[in-house]
């Protein structure tokens, strides 16, 4: 689905991502883990088009998308969420979702002026779709609340909801579980699983919560210092000495185990 081909990016003297290649297989939930500063979000920014790579190519379903702007990649079915939720804080929860569908005729000012009745009819259908998504995520009671007033976890759910307002093929989730309490986290994982099964979304997930990764992801990629150091299922990575070293530093004996629970 997504192929990353020897992609690199430096910030001044810091080589944030160095010649990383991997593939997110169609229909998978691929995890991306690694200590802070490993280059995970930089990699995501390059896949989503928010940041241009110095070298390397990104392909979506075989098509080279390296030179496309973020909104063009969105129309190809590549959707992302952000580590820090990027909600429209002065707009309502419903409006946050209604903004997403592509090709709304009301986005053309002339059509909004000349055929406003048709635009209103179309917008009503989009509103119904938004309400369905909110019910799915069980935050329907918040629909007229300003998005800026939501809790951190609710904003994460809203971010996920935005990906449901479009015909996404591949969804990039940047730390969906960060700052989310346990109850809400279960709901979030459930929503991701249902989207994966019912809608056939392919996911690529950055996450520090190893329980969530273990529950959702296979395979899991591990990054450290801008490079990919290992990949496989969670069980095999737990026994991988290099992965443990990356997370816990050198000089730690094998007895410490690969568990690195909680959010970092």
């Amino acid at each position: 689905m997504i192929e990353i081909d020897r992609i690199s990016r430096a910030f001044g003297g810091l080589q944030a991502v160095q010649a990383v290649s991997f593939t997110v297989a169609e229909g998978s939930i691929t995890g991306l883990i690694g200590p802070n500063g490993a280059g995970k979000t930089t990699l995501f920014n390059m896949i989503a088009g928010n940041l241009a790579p110095d070298q390397g190519r990104v392909r979506l379903q075989g098509e080279d998308i390296t030179d496309l702007a973020p909104h063009e990649r969105f129309h190809k079915g590549l959707v992302r969420t952000f580590q820090i939720p990027h909600e429209f804080s002065r707009m309502t929860v419903r409006e946050n979702l209604m903004i997403v569908p592509a090709q709304q005729s009301g986005e053309y000012l002339l059509r909004s002026w000349l055929t406003w009745w048709r635009v209103v009819r179309e917008d009503r259908a989009i509103l119904e779709q938004a309400d369905e998504v909110l019910d799915f995520l069980e935050i329907g009671h918040l629909r007229d609340e300003l998005a800026g007033n939501l809790s951190g976890g609710q904003k994460k759910l809203l971010d996920l909801g935005r990906t449901m307002m479009t015909d996404a093929k591949a969804v990039l989730l940047d730390e969906p579980g960060a700052g989310v309490n346990r109850t809400l986290l279960g709901k979030l994982a459930e929503a991701i699983e249902r989207l994966h099964q019912e809608r056939g979304y392919t996911f690529c997930v950055i996450e520090h919560d190893m329980d969530l990764i273990a529950r959702l992801c296979d395979p899991v990629m591990v990054m450290a210092n801008g490079a990919l150091i290992a990949s496989g299922d969670m069980a095999s990575l737990r026994d991988n000495a290099e992965v443990r070293e990356a997370y816990l530093g050198t000089g730690v004996s094998g007895q410490a185990g690969g568990q690195s629970n909680g959010t970092a």
């Binding site: 989503a48 909104h71 969105f74 952000f82 429209f88 804080s89 903004i99 002026w113 406003w116």
Partner: protein, 311 residues
């Protein structure tokens, strides 16, 4: 006689209020809805006024035109000429945010004013263009009805735009540009559209202004009258709220006119110049509003959901 004079003055005043209300609505599309800090209102105001003047006056020996076109064609011309100018300005400044956009636009507005000042073949320079008649032989009262008609038309169009999905994207851009792009919207294109449409509305106001005062010269398009007052009106009325934009034009123009009287009461020795004292008073007013009612007289409201509350 006293009453008749007062009514005549009120009609004169309301004409200007209406013309300014149209420009404030244009600025509301740029600043209130999209968050574009355009302080070059005067430039587009001037383009509209000069275009209308050249298109509708009698043929003149010393400057371009006039072409004696009908009133409505003159206004259409104002919008049509402003469109490409605003498009170019918008394209150049497309990547600039808030304060940088402000610096760029105030510079461009001054360039436009100096252009009209120096290109005598086009605009008759400092001497200005006289003889811009009111249409259909109407007086101030008749013209007031025409102006109010245009205020109603502009208000309706801008309000429909605000409630439309187009306006929703603009508010999203104002809130969070990165997330708007991540939602598949071409942010640069929407910003440019809002800038151009807002500027064309200002040009329409300029055209109506030219017919009302009958004579225009570069002096009328200094930043104080052309830009600063429009901004005070929008902020006082409530940016983001179209009703507030119109109310702001009324309230600020009334206060602005009364400062003339106020300044007349204070001994000149104390304030130096009357006109400078008026600017000072309006500055104080702006401070009072910003401190006591930062969101303006009518704060922004949430547009109704489709099917909810008819217009």
């Amino acid at each position: 006689m006293e009453i008749a004079g007062l009514i005549a003055y009120a009609i004169f005043l309301l004409n200007l209020v209406g013309i300014y209300a149209i420009m404030v609505l244009g600025l509301n599309m740029q600043w209130g809805m999209t968050g574009q800090f355009n302080i070059g209102v005067a430039g587009f105001f001037a383009v509209g006024a000069y275009t209308t003047a050249i298109l509708t006056t009698e043929p003149a020996a010393n400057w371009l035109g006039g072409f004696e076109l009908p009133f409505l064609l003159g206004l259409v011309g104002a919008v049509v000429v402003c469109w490409p100018i605003a498009w170019v300005v918008g394209r150049i400044t497309a990547g600039l945010r808030t304060d940088y956009l402000a610096i760029a636009t105030i510079g461009i507005a001054e360039i436009i004013r100096l252009f009209f000042l120096n290109e005598g073949w086009l605009s008759n320079g400092t001497r200005g263009i006289p003889g811009i008649d009111k249409p259909f032989g109407v007086g101030n009262l008749g013209y007031l009805l025409i102006v109010l008609g245009f205020v109603a038309l502009t208000y309706t169009l801008v309000e429909i735009a605000r409630r439309s999905p187009w306006g929703r994207v603009l508010r999203a851009i104002r809130d969070n540009e990165a997330a708007t792009a991540a939602s598949g919207k071409n942010v640069a294109q929407f910003r440019l559209q809002a800038f151009v449409v807002g500027a064309c509305i200002m040009a329409l106001g300029g055209g109506l202004y030219a017919h009302f005062v009958g004579f225009i010269s570069p002096e009328a398009f200094r930043p104080l009258y052309g830009t600063f007052l429009v901004w005070v009106m929008l902020i006082a009325g409530g940016s983001g709220n179209n009703k507030g934009a119109v109310l702001g034009a009324l309230v600020v123009w009334l206060i602005w006119s009364s400062t003339e009287m106020l300044a007349g009461l204070v001994p000149t020795a104390l304030i130096g110049s009357e006109s400078a004292f008026r600017v000072f008073l309006i500055g104080v007013l702006l401070q009072i509003i910003l401190v006591s009612r930062p969101q303006g007289l009518l704060p922004e409201t949430r547009p109704p959901m489709p099917g909810e509350g008819k217009r």
